[in-house]
C-alpha cells in the first residue's frame, strides 16, 4: 500500500514527486500529457522564477530544468493523458501504446489551470481569426517561433497580459494598448513598469473591448469603451483601434475535469477542489495542489504547496490517520477565500493558510479567529486581490483554531 501517482509534470507535479521521494515513498509515477516535463514553464521564457526556491532569478525553462533534476530517476510517463481517476484510485491513461489503467494507493492531481477564452467573457462582434488567449500566443512565439500577428491589442492586465505586451514588442510587433475592465491592474507593479512603461504602452483602466471588426476573415480592429462603476460600457466613450490581433488575458480557472469525474467537491469561489489541511479532496486518498487547487501568483508558491501536500500524501500512504472530523473555515469581512477550506480536529503541527482579499485594502490585520477570539493575526500595510497572503500558525495557535466550533478568517482595521 504505497503506490503514488501524480497527474501533471509541471512545477507542482515535479515538486510533489521530489518531495514524496524525500519522504520515503518508493513507488512514484508522474504522468504528463506533453512530450516533455515542465508544463507551462517551458513557454514562460521571461525571468523572475525561483527567487524563493533556488535563491536565484531564473527563466521558466531553467526553473523547469532545476525541478526536473530534483525529480531525476522518478518514473515519468510523458505523452500520456489521464482520462479519468476513480474513487478507488485507479487511473485510466491513454498514450501511443493504447489504453491502460494504473492502480494507485494515493493520487496527487497537479493539472494546473486553463485560460478563460473569448466565449467566457462574451465579447460581441466578428467571429474571425486573430483572437488568441495570451498563453496561446506565448506558446506560438516562444515554442513554435511563429508571430501570431503584427499589431496587437491586449485585453486584461494580469501578469500574462503584461508579459505578452512586452513579448510582442521584443519580437517586432506593435501594441496599441492594454485595456483592463477593473479600475486597478491585478498584475505585479514590476511588470507594469518593465513591460508597459518601458515601451510606452498605454494601460486603459476601467475599459473593455465592446466590438470586434473583421476584414476578409481576419480581425481588423477592436472597439474599446470605458466602463462605469458597475462595469457597464458607457455609451459615447467608444474608441476604435486598428489592429490585426486581440490577445485575451482575462483570468485563469483551475482545470477540474478529473476532479469532477472522481466525484470530488468543488469550491465555487476558487473553482478548484475543496480540501482539508493535507490538501486531500473529499475523495479519500485523492490530493490536489498547485494551480489546479487555486490559481497562484508565483510558481515557487505552487511548488511549496506541492511539497507540503507530498509530505501529507506520504503520511497517508504510511497509514497515518486523517486526524479526526472536518471543521469548515469561514471567510468573511473582505476575505474572498482561504485554502484549505477545512481543518481536521485532530491534526497536529503548524498550519498554513493561503488566502486572497476581495479588494485592495490598507492598514489591516488578517485575523484568524476561534469562536470569536483572535488567535493569530498578520499586519499588512496594503493587501490586494492580486497578491496571495500566507498565514502560518504555530502548532499551539493552530490547535486552538482546530478545536473551535466556529473558525473564521477575516480582516480587522488597524486602530
Amino acid at each position: 500500500m504505497n503506490k503514488l501517482v501524480i497527474v501533471g509534470g509541471g512545477p507542482a507535479g515535479l515538486a510533489a514527486a521530489a518531495q514524496a521521494r524525500r519522504c520515503g515513498v518508493e513507488d512514484i509515477t508522474v504522468i504528463e500529457r506533453d512530450k516533455c516535463l515542465g508544463g507551462i514553464l517551458n513557454q514562460c521564457v521571461h525571468s523572475g522564477f525561483g527567487l524563493h526556491m533556488f535563491k536565484q532569478e531564473l527563466t521558466g525553462p531553467e526553473y523547469a530544468a532545476r525541478l526536473e533534476k530534483e525529480a531525476e530517476g522518478i518514473k515519468c510517463l510523458t505523452s500520456t493523458t489521464v482520462l479519468s481517476v476513480k474513487p478507488d484510485k485507479s487511473v485510466e491513461c491513454v498514450s501511443e501504446k493504447g489504453l491502460f489503467t494504473l492502480r494507485a494507493d494515493a493520487v496527487i492531481l497537479a493539472c494546473g489551470c486553463r485560460e478563460r477564452p473569448r466565449g467566457a467573457i462574451g465579447i460581441p462582434g466578428a467571429r474571425c481569426a486573430g483572437v488568441y488567449t495570451a498563453g496561446t500566443a506565448q506558446k506560438l512565439i516562444n515554442i513554435n517561433g511563429v508571430m501570431p500577428g503584427k499589431k496587437f491589442f491586449i485585453l486584461g492586465s494580469g501578469d500574462i497580459g503584461l508579459i505578452m505586451a512586452r513579448r510582442a514588442i521584443l519580437q517586432g510587433g506593435e501594441v496599441c494598448a492594454v485595456a483592463e475592465l477593473m479600475p486597478f491592474s491585478s498584475g505585479l507593479k514590476r511588470n507594469i513598469a518593465q513591460c508597459l512603461d518601458d515601451f510606452g504602452i498605454p494601460l486603459l483602466l476601467s475599459h473593455t473591448v465592446t466590438d470586434i471588426k473583421e476584414s476578409g476573415g481576419r480581425l481588423s480592429g477592436v472597439t474599446v469603451s470605458r466602463v462605469d462603476e458597475k462595469l457597464r460600457p458607457v455609451p459615447g466613450s467608444e474608441r476604435f483601434y486598428e489592429c490585426d490581433t486581440l490577445l485575451l488575458s482575462v483570468g485563469l480557472i483551475p482545470e477540474t475535469e478529473l476532479l469532477r469525474g472522481a466525484g470530488a467537491q468543488l469550491d465555487p469561489v476558487t473553482q478548484g477542489a475543496r480540501v482539508d489541511e493535507r490538501m486531500m479532496t473529499s475523495v479519500d486518498g485523492l490530493f490536489c495542489v498547485g494551480n489546479m487547487l487555486h490559481v497562484h501568483d508565483l510558481a515557487d508558491n505552487a511548488c511549496k504547496e506541492a511539497e507540503e501536500c507530498a509530505r501529507f500524501a506520504a503520511e497517508y500512504l504510511a497509514g497515518e490517520s486523517a486526524g479526526g472530523e472536518l471543521a469548515a473555515v469561514e471567510c468573511t469581512g473582505g476575505v474572498r477565500y482561504a485554502v484549505p477550506q477545512f481543518l481536521r480536529r485532530g491534526a497536529r503541527g503548524a498550519l498554513s493558510l493561503k488566502l486572497r482579499v476581495a479588494s485592495e485594502v490598507k492598514n489591516v490585520y488578517i485575523s484568524a479567529q476561534a469562536d470569536g477570539e483572535e488567535v493569530y493575526s498578520l499586519f499588512r500595510r496594503v493587501a490586494a486581490p492580486g497578491e496571495m497572503e500566507y498565514l502560518t500558525l504555530p502548532e499551539e495557535k493552530a490547535a486552538r483554531l482546530r478545536a473551535a466550533r466556529k473558525i473564521v478568517i477575516t480582516l480587522r482595521a488597524k486602530q
Partner: protein
C-alpha cells in the same frame, strides 16, 4: 524631474526624483528601498529579459535567449533587433552562449533551453 511608481513592494509609492548638483533627490518614498530604486532608475536603469529566436531543423521552431547580466534598458531595442535577425540551427543546448556582447551591450545571450534535431 521624473515620476515613477516604486516596484520594490506591493505598496507602490509614487516617487519623484530630481537631479541637483550631481545628487539625486527622491521624494514620495516611505522606505530606503524606494530611494534606492529611484536613484537606480535615474542613473542606470537595468533590466533582465529574454528574446525568442527561430531555430531551423529542430523539434520546435524557437528557443529563448536571456541576457547573461542585467543591461541598461537603452539596449533592449537593439538586442531585440539583433535577435530577430538571428536564426539558429538545431541542436541548441541550454546554457550555450549564442551571441557574444549582443548589440555591444556587454551582455551575452544564453540559450535557456535545449532544442534537439527533428
Amino acid at each position: 524631474m521624473k515620476e515613477f511608481v516604486c516596484i520594490r513592494c506591493p505598496l507602490g509609492c509614487a516617487l519623484t526624483a530630481e537631479e541637483k548638483d550631481g545628487e539625486v533627490i527622491v521624494t514620495g518614498n516611505s522606505c530606503p528601498r524606494g530611494r534606492e530604486y529611484a536613484v537606480a532608475e535615474m542613473t542606470d536603469p537595468v533590466r533582465t529579459f529574454s528574446v525568442s529566436v527561430r531555430v531551423k531543423g529542430g523539434e520546435r521552431g524557437a528557443v529563448a535567449l536571456r541576457v547573461s547580466v542585467p543591461v541598461n534598458k537603452k539596449f533592449i531595442a537593439p538586442i531585440a533587433e539583433q535577435a530577430r535577425h538571428t536564426v539558429l540551427t538545431a541542436p541548441v543546448r541550454a546554457g550555450d552562449t549564442v551571441i557574444k556582447n549582443a548589440a555591444s551591450s556587454g551582455a551575452d545571450l544564453i540559450a535557456v533551453a535545449s532544442v534537439a534535431r527533428e
